[in-house]
Symmetry: C2
Subunit: 229 residues, 2 copies
């Protein structure tokens, strides 16, 4: 029986939990082979002290059944990286699922792979999806045909369990959830701008203002190029 | 102002999410410095395709304010690793918090650091804690004086947010939760042996039987040594 090939994209300054949450789930799937794919074999930086060594590069990556693009600050640069966009487009032709976590959706969008598809992303980037012809949907996990996207960071776990059911079956996905003891009990009710104390939301938005402007500029450039392309 | 030093232990065949969940939270703490500490500087294997490069080794690690021991299959070997137990004991003298995620609690226990303390761990290992004189507590996050432990794998996120409040303050921890969009929505209600379908629990326990016996033997050896020591 042929193994399902799952490739998670690695790139500089990515949010490591966008990768490592889904990676934990996918790695427990029976009959699947997981690749960590980067432009080159050099370990990439994350937004933490953890460096992330790829297991393959664009040139050697086999055809993937599932492509997953994580997010993070580095994704704002990736939306204008032609090599990465070309790799995603080339893989997309024969992939079964094109997926993203967090602002990885912007990268799929910049590759032209979300035109006319509903998709979700980190709450701070939801409106940016429309620039790529995607239909932003505010949800934890969004499935539209073979596009599956998760919201911000920790949503990658919900996303991956949802995809695990699609790739295998419900008992398999449930067994993974049980193994991961994914029975969440957040100590605060602050995981969404709707529920967090409004002064916390304001403080965080204030702190993110520089990054927000950087993203707006990057998305505009990427969307212009996509329109011309 | 002196930075809070937080050290997460790296070791072969660890469960990477036990590390990467808390790492994501701790990395957003203001005025903290995070170390990934291993016996040597060689990247360690995880239970996934991801190799984990340390940032420091036992010999060069500064005194830590917070020690965090993740778990995984490799933790069952670590309970009998004298170098690791000695490192933990030496750090423990002046650390503010001794913490664990998942079966990392067994390692703290084997180092003699949980005698008379309540602690939690992965549901499959809870009864093993008693061999080290700990008082097993079935909870998502367990705080007893300066010992803070989290349950299995994904509990590391709840654990780390709880610790973030202790190290900083509630608005800081809430802002991290919001940034991580930690507003969980598991697609199934299968995250605990109490709620998962009983045939899924039975299937997983059956599959874990070999590892279970390995852990029982390892814990017995470690507990005997601790008693003699």
């Amino acid at each position: 029986m042929t193994k399902t090939t799952i490739g998670l994209l690695l790139f500089p300054n990515m949010t490591q939990l966008d990768l490592t949450g889904p990676l934990q789930v996918f790695s427990r799937l029976p009959n699947a082979k997981v690749y960590l794919v980067a432009k080159t074999m050099a370990p990439v930086t994350s937004d933490t002290a953890l460096m992330l060594p790829p297991t393959t590069d664009f040139a050697h990556c086999p055809q993937l059944d599932v492509i997953c693009v994580p997010g993070g600050a580095g994704a704002d640069d990736l939306v204008n990286d032609e090599d990465t966009l070309a790799f995603l487009r080339q893989q997309a032709d024969q992939a079964r699922y094109l997926t993203s976590v967090c602002t990885g959706a912007l990268v799929l969008g910049a590759a032209g792979l979300l035109r006319g598809y509903r998709a979700t992303t980190h709450w701070s980037a939801l409106e940016d999806l429309a620039a790529f012809g995607a239909i932003p949907e505010r949800s934890r996990v969004c499935i539209d045909r073979n596009r599956v996207s998760g919201g911000g960071m920790t949503a990658g776990i919900d996303f991956a369990l949802t995809l695990a059911e699609l790739l295998a079956d419900r008992p398999t996905a449930q067994a993974i959830q049980l193994m991961l003891e994914y029975n969440p009990a957040p100590p605060f009710n602050a995981g969404s701008p709707d529920t967090a104390p409004q002064e916390v939301v304001a403080m965080l938005k204030q702190r993110m203002q520089g990054a927000r402007q950087h993203r707006i500029d990057a998305v505009k450039r990427a969307a212009d190029r996509l329109l011309r392309g």
